[in-house]
């Protein structure tokens, strides 16, 4: 699947950490982050924009992750929701690339 911009939704409870994750994602050409600190804000964002990838991190519990997965999957069964570990730059790119490979998504390949 070719897309112009890969939109990534990041859900966490620690706004400071989310700001760093947002900056890291946005530093990639063709990747764009939206950060939210509540599940309701995540659902609202999800209704406005298609997000192939949703990361949960920074304070989201396993139970909240599962609830959010169910709610977002009901809106878009193709969404990939995974936990972003580590909070910083070390694993973020790897996590995104693994999903892109698995789903054969190629950002920046069309306009």
């Amino acid at each position: 699947m070719e897309i112009s911009t890969l939109h990534i939704l990041v859900v966490g409870r620690d706004h400071e950490i989310l700001l760093v994750v947002e900056r890291l994602i946005n530093s990639h050409e063709h990747w764009a982050a939206t950060i939210v600190t509540t599940d309701e804000a995540a659902l609202a964002a999800f209704n406005k924009q298609q997000y192939p990838i949703v990361f949960v991190c920074a304070g989201v519990t396993a139970e909240e992750e599962e609830t959010l997965r169910q709610r977002l999957s009901a809106l878009d069964p193709s969404v990939t929701l995974i936990r972003h570990f580590g909070g910083g730059s070390g694993l973020l790119e790897n996590e995104v690339r693994a999903i892109l490979d698995r789903r054969s998504i190629r950002p920046g390949k069309t306009n």
Partner: protein, 245 residues
């Protein structure tokens, strides 16, 4: 069934940012190899060199157990938990980043490089309060035997494990061996795997595999591992981690 996976030093990922040179046993940052993502709960094993006067500015982590083992020089650690520490060769630093922590790590020397292993282990509990610890290695305890550096969080709050602990059923041991000395490592938990990383010298593992400096070998399906030092000044780090977590 016993299985091994060999990561020769020369096949690791490599990043040279000038002030930072890093060799990565597993995929990290710009290095992405789908065949080398992790060994069980062991996700990151970076062999880093930081130039004098340089370092990592303040940045966040969450939900990761981060173990740093300086091999040369020292680092100045500062975090938003109020810690400001120097951690140098002969010591081990552990951060349970839990629900989130910001920290910086700078070379403590203005002109000499600092070298250290940076190891990340997935935690078995999410969003714990962040924790920092630092321990001193004992050269006597690790000469021709294994010294325990890391073990799982104690079930008994009053228990004092050898070394320090992390939020994972993982055990790290280190030892410095003379040529010909044999090491028998028995796994602490059934089903775990062991990742061997040679810091210096060379070793032979029981199946005949020879490991040279900075080689890594993952071993699964065994309850015990026998290793022989093949050179003097041979130093090895043994990381036992859960394969499923």
């Amino acid at each position: 069934m016993s299985n091994t996976i060999l990561h020769k030093a020369a096949t690791r990922g490599h990043a040279d940012h000038g002030w930072l040179e890093s060799f990565q046993s597993f995929s990290f940052a710009d290095y992405y190899n789908p065949e080398r993502i992790q060994f069980g709960a062991l996700r990151v094993l970076n062999d880093d060199r930081v130039d004098g006067g340089k370092g990592f500015g303040s940045h966040p982590h969450d939900n990761m157990e981060i173990i740093s083992i300086p091999l040369e020089g020292s680092l100045v650690h500062q975090d938003n938990m109020g810690n400001k520490k120097v951690v140098g060769k002969g010591e081990v630093q552990v951060m349970s980043t839990g629900k989130g922590v910001f920290h910086s790590e700078y070379n403590n020397s203005p002109d000499q490089p600092a070298k250290f292993l940076q190891i990340w282990v997935f935690p078995n509990r999410l969003n714990v309060p962040p924790r920092y610890d630092q321990i001193q290695r004992d050269p006597v305890k690790e000469h021709n035997r294994l010294q325990q550096l890391i073990s799982p969080v104690p079930k008994d709050a009053d228990a004092v494990p050898e070394g320090t602990w992390i939020y994972q059923d993982a055990w790290f041991h280190i030892g410095h061996f003379d040529k010909g000395k044999k090491i028998a490592y028995e796994l602490k938990k059934k089903g775990n795997g062991v990742y061997l990383f040679v810091i210096s010298g060379s070793f032979r593992v029981d199946d005949g595999q020879t490991l040279d400096p900075r080689d890594g070998l993952g071993i699964t399906g065994q309850d015990a591992i026998n290793i022989t030092a093949m050179s003097d000044d041979a130093e090895i780090l043994i990381m036992e981690v859960p394969l499923k977590f």
